[in-house]
Subunit: 242 residues, 2 copies
Amino acid sequence: MLYLIGLGINDEKDISLKGIDAIKSCDAVFAELYTCPIHADLSNLEKLTSKKIQLLNRKQVEEDELVLKSAKSCDTAFLVGGDALSATTHTEIILDAKKAGIDVKVIHASSIFTAIAETGLMLYKFGKTVSLPIPQENYFPTTPYTNIKDNLDSNLHTLLLLDIGMSANKAIDVLLELEGKMNGKLFSDSSKLVVVAHLGGDSLIKYDAISNLKKMDFGIQPHALIIPSALHFHEEEFLELF
Amino acid sequence: MLYLIGLGINDEKDISLKGIDAIKSCDAVFAELYTCPIHADLSNLEKLTSKKIQLLNRKQVEEDELVLKSAKSCDTAFLVGGDALSATTHTEIILDAKKAGIDVKVIHASSIFTAIAETGLMLYKFGKTVSLPIPQENYFPTTPYTNIKDNLDSNLHTLLLLDIGMSANKAIDVLLELEGKMNGKLFSDSSKLVVVAHLGGDSLIKYDAISNLKKMDFGIQPHALIIPSALHFHEEEFLELF
């Protein structure tokens, strides 16, 4: 049996009781924290479950397939940040396991996809989630801008997930640079956005004009941005708290 | 302090360790299971935390404001199904608490909004989430159909959340009835949909043509439907497992 277990949104105490039970029942326990870098102290989970947890890097997961190899021979738990299946990599592992005849059980946990409701914005008013990569010299994709525009045209909010290591301030610079290229009149210094930082821990939420947000320090990452569409008055009232 | 604590997607073991710690720290503990009816046995949580949990009905939450009244005088925990903030009602409670000067801490948990990734469909390819109410004699809204069409036009999947007590089979009947009214050519007997049932527990996922899904029994509720848009080949390969 392979258990794919979400660690949840912020630290190692966001795992579920079901996740703890599953770890205790396993012969081998692995974790990766590169797809969703949360502030988990795995040694606390080791004490709680009396199991050794082996932290894997990307190569060990994707090329060496250590998790899959283990699950072929014994009950194996694989711990990942956020919900168990936010990252496409993990869906691939399930597919490979099923092809190899290994039973898979998914144990869910909290995730940025729902924690954004802390802003007061309604989950069913969000459109497509958009990822914003750190621009490289020869790689500055414009699809994030197009996707945000599509959501705004449909009157839907956009959750903008930032590349690993990217601050909200950097993300705002990238949005303004995209605005310069695309000229779709989505962003100016006076546009009001929502920044969320380390949600689920000591959550920080700021709703302000870009010109003000640019100057703020949002503390430890992860950060994310929300591009709100037209606000329901309940949403507006809630956001004004921040 | 008011702790708003998600119980998670399926049963009382989907709560996080952080949620358990918060309950233990509180003087009063309430729960409601009407906005998101999960299979939680609260007596197990009572044993684990040595706290009495008072189960509230809608009137006690919304009109009598028992949670808010308690939080004004002592540390209070309020347990809800799914993530802590999937239901608009709970956002309102936070707003009211903040207006009354009560500190609020949200403790997240797993939710249908991310658990749908068990299907292999990519979370960032979902558009607006749509709710399907049980049609009444004088109330048969067509907005769910329009919203599904908007998502499909943007090549986005739709998570269709069903009214409390509504089976996937009934939901399919409603979709076909809406098709008859709206004639947007979204659904016919050969359209392939995804049914998910009691996700996060003994999850059941079926991907099939409407004509076949109509005849199936998906067991205990909750059920939900996913209207897939054009599939990535990885998504297709995964869905074919079900």
